[in-house]
């Protein structure tokens, strides 16, 4: 059985990252950011990468990383979720990095680890791990085709594009990128297009893309855990201080019991997300099952937490000026990202021999 707890180093890392996020990315700042043109918070990203090596936690030291593992990276993902921080952590430091590590690439991966460059997998964000699509044709070392809905596509310096015979790196300047008005403006999508774009092959076959998607899905569960925890904390704080009918609304069972259920679901999400991260870190044979369970479960918990957060705040929870909608949008987008819960349950059914009707 994997270790489902947090170690001392992980707790220290969490504390540091949380302080940094609180200082540099309070939700009011995140809210202001969603109406700006900048696709992500570059200043915050450099601070995270510089101070905690957050962009290269799972990258070996000899490749320029911090030489830790996906377990530590998962703790950072939790904190980023808790702060709904607009940084390309999941896309560059997890998905692209995992793909490059699986491919044995040793050049670009170092730049990513140091936070000097940002790369993203050019796949529609809803792509589940089992179905990496090849939407792009290769001819004479150049790519042609379109990939819509790429997460952090505008933040990227390099696009990692799956094709039929492997994974290609394309300089972002050589690709067409159109911003998408996204449901979640803290992790924006871009429609990308390649018209004979010069490309370098970084991996043969589908293995690297698959590793990127699978590791991404594993760590997305930790981000979802963080989102859910952030929502629960905010909601509990609110219901303790908001009075109606002469009592704090948190003294009404109709709310208390739902919050107790939410807390219970979050304790499960924590165990599930930790298991998935530990499996990713160790290359555990249980990884695929762990990821399918984690995505099916944590997606639903994060969405539930965000929906309860809106509801229990009443009118203020429905306003633009409150943080609840940032969480709701991030939670719902994250649930669809890298495969909906239903797709993960379908994948799981095959993995545990429970075939459909």
């Amino acid at each position: 059985m994997t270790d489902l707890l947090y170690g001392e180093i992980e707790s220290d890392l969490r504390g540091g990252v949380r302080d940094l996020l609180a200082g540099k990315a309070p939700w009011t700042g995140v809210l202001a950011g969603v109406e700006k043109d900048d696709p992500f918070d570059a200043d915050l990203w450099h601070a995270l990468a510089g101070r905690f090596g957050a962009a290269g936690l799972a990258v070996p030291e000899e490749l320029g990383g911090a030489g830790a593992s996906w377990r530590e990276a998962a703790v950072v993902a939790e904190e980023i979720g808790r702060a709904v921080a607009p940084v390309p952590f999941l896309t560059s430091a997890v998905m692209a990095t995992a793909a490059l590590l699986a491919a044995g690439e040793s050049d670009l991966v170092g730049d990513l680890a140091e936070g000097e460059r940002i790369a993203v997998l050019a796949v529609p964000f809803g792509t589940p791990p089992g179905e990496p699509p090849a939407r792009v044709r290769v001819a004479g070392g150049a790519l042609t085709g379109e990939v819509p809905g790429v997460a952090d596509g505008l933040a990227a310096d390099v696009l990692l594009v799956p094709a039929a015979d492997g994974l290609y790196a394309v300089d972002a300047a050589d690709a067409g990128r159109a911003p998408v008005t996204s449901l979640d403006m803290t992790r924006r999508l871009a429609d990308t297009a390649f018209d004979g774009a010069p490309a370098r092959r970084v991996a043969d076959g589908p293995g690297a893309v698959r590793a990127g998607l699978l590791t991404g899905a594993a760590l997305l569960a930790s981000e979802q855990l963080g989102i859910a925890e952030g929502c629960l904390d905010a909601t509990v704080a609110h219901v303790k201080t908001r009075y109606q009918f002469g009592r704090p609304i948190g003294s009404y069972q109709a709310l208390k019991h739902r919050l107790a259920d939410l807390w219970t679901a979050i304790t499960q999400a924590r165990a599930v997300a930790r298991h998935a991260a530990a499996c990713a870190a160790a290359g555990d044979p249980d990884l695929e099952i762990a990821v399918a369970v984690a995505q099916a479960h944590c997606s639903a918990v994060a969405v539930k937490a965000a929906e309860e957060c809106v509801q229990m705040h009443g009118g203020i929870g429905f306003t633009w000026e409150h943080s609840a909608h940032l969480y709701l949008k991030r939670a719902k987008s994250a649930a669809i990202a890298l495969g909906t819960p239903d797709r993960h349950r379908a994948a799981l059914a095959a993995l545990v021999d429970l075939p459909p009707a």
């Binding site: 509990v236 208390k256 799981l348 009707a357």
Partner: protein, 397 residues
């Protein structure tokens, strides 16, 4: 001999040495179990002299595995859940040295079955409302009253009994906790038939029952505090057993799905996968709880375990019945019997469905558990109370 608690290697050496001296195949069952207790290899996290050796609780699984591999007899824990899960930790926490020395050994070996005499007709969720009276008479107490829903009282040698000793103070303060001899004159156990057909639980009538003061657990008037030991352990023991993936009811349903393709429909498949994931999430949460207990960092997560377990048992057993269609309508046995254990797996699906309904009532209802999580874990305000400062005797009943 060193006084440091043994580690895993030292424990396996001790088990091997014990087995070398007590051949499981050639030793009488009870003799073997008593010797295992005396060797400190029963519940290893218990103190020396009381069946343990102060070892980390996490090592118990390894020790049990070694004994099982050697073909050693077990203490049949499924027959004494209340004894092992609740009475023992309560005795450990609140008992005197004499009480522990007297009760723990036959409890662990399974010679003495225990029951829990808490609930009354007028006191269920509100346990502190109970009215069974105990009146002191020198160095003994005279008890009168009625308990209800007492599981396995018909098998029990001893009962955990909470009584009212002072009706003039607010209810939480006037209670006293005893160990009751179930064979004492004036103890009458009558079966209560359940919706499943048989009677696991009973009514227990207490008429002028004498209890020696030596069988009091904790101070006079301290019964509420002692009961909380029992109740905390009840919730952990119900929800906290170590389980491999796809065990219990979900394993039954998954097996049915694999073996009977003709039962499959798309809707049932969706439901099955949804529940499979939820059960696995609950299992991992239980595993995480065990790891944090083993690391000496107990968290509040245990409160959620029983809540989740009750809901999932009910949903999974309901799915099993639906999956079976007409076959699910065959019940195995409505005969009024008095079983000696609860066995979910060897009974029919209908029994599982019905018995699971009790999971959200026994050991604290799901509503009460949600209240506990909301108030103790999340720190939400308590209910408005009308009963707190009123003497017990003046409460509306």
């Amino acid at each position: 001999m060193s006084t440091a608690p043994p580690d895993a290697d030292e424990l396996s050496r001790r088990v091997a040495a014990f087995l070398a001296e007590h051949d499981p195949a050639a030793t009488d069952r009870l003799k073997f179990l008593r010797a295992r207790f005396d060797a400190g290899l029963a519940w290893v996290h218990y103190p020396r002299g009381l069946g343990g050796c102060d070892a980390p609780r996490a090592l118990q699984r390894d020790v049990d595995r070694l004994f099982a591999k050697a073909g050693a007899p077990t203490n049949r824990p499924e027959r004494n859940g209340i004894g092992l899960g609740m009475a023992a930790p309560t005795l450990l926490a609140a008992g005197t040295d004499e009480q522990r020395a007297r009760f723990l050994r036959p409890l662990w070996t399974g010679e003495d079955i225990w029951c829990q005499l808490f609930s009354e007709p007028g006191a269920g969720s509100d346990l502190a409302a109970l009215g069974t009276r105990a009146v002191r008479d020198g160095d003994r107490w005279i008890v009168n009253g009625q308990k209800v829903w007492t599981s396995m009282a018909h098998e029990a040698r001893w009962g955990l009994l909470v009584t009212r000793t002072d009706p003039d103070v607010p209810k939480h303060r006037g209670m006293t906790y005893f160990v009751l001899d179930m064979t004492a004159p004036g103890v009458e156990v009558r079966p209560l038939r359940q919706l499943t057909g048989e009677a696991e639980f009973n009514e227990v009538f207490l008429t002028d029952v004498e209890i020696p003061d030596a069988h009091r657990l904790g101070e006079v008037g301290d019964g509420w505090r002692v009961s909380t030991h029992t109740l905390m352990n009840e919730r952990v023991s119900i929800g906290g057993a170590a389980v491999p993936r796809e065990s219990g009811m979900i394993g039954v349903v998954a097996g049915l799905w694999r073996d009977r393709p003709e039962l499959r429909t798309p809707g049932l498949h969706g439901e099955l996968m949804r529940l499979w994931v939820e059960v696995e999430a609950a299992r991992l949460a239980g595993e995480r709880l065990r790891q944090s207990l083993a690391a000496g960092r107990p968290g509040p997560e245990g409160s959620g375990t029983k809540l989740a377990f009750a809901k999932l048992n009910q949903e999974v057993s309901g799915l099993e019945l639906e999956m079976l269609g007409t076959d699910g309508l065959r019940y195995d046995d409505w005969t009024m019997r008095r079983p000696s254990e609860v066995d979910f797996t060897r009974r029919s699906p209908g029994y599982r469905y019905l018995r699971a309904k009790g999971n959200s009532i026994e050991g604290g209802t799901s509503e009460i558990l949600r209240g506990i999580i909301a108030e103790r874990v999340l720190g939400l305000p308590g209910e408005i109370r009308v009963d707190k400062d009123v003497p017990w005797k003046d409460l509306p009943k």
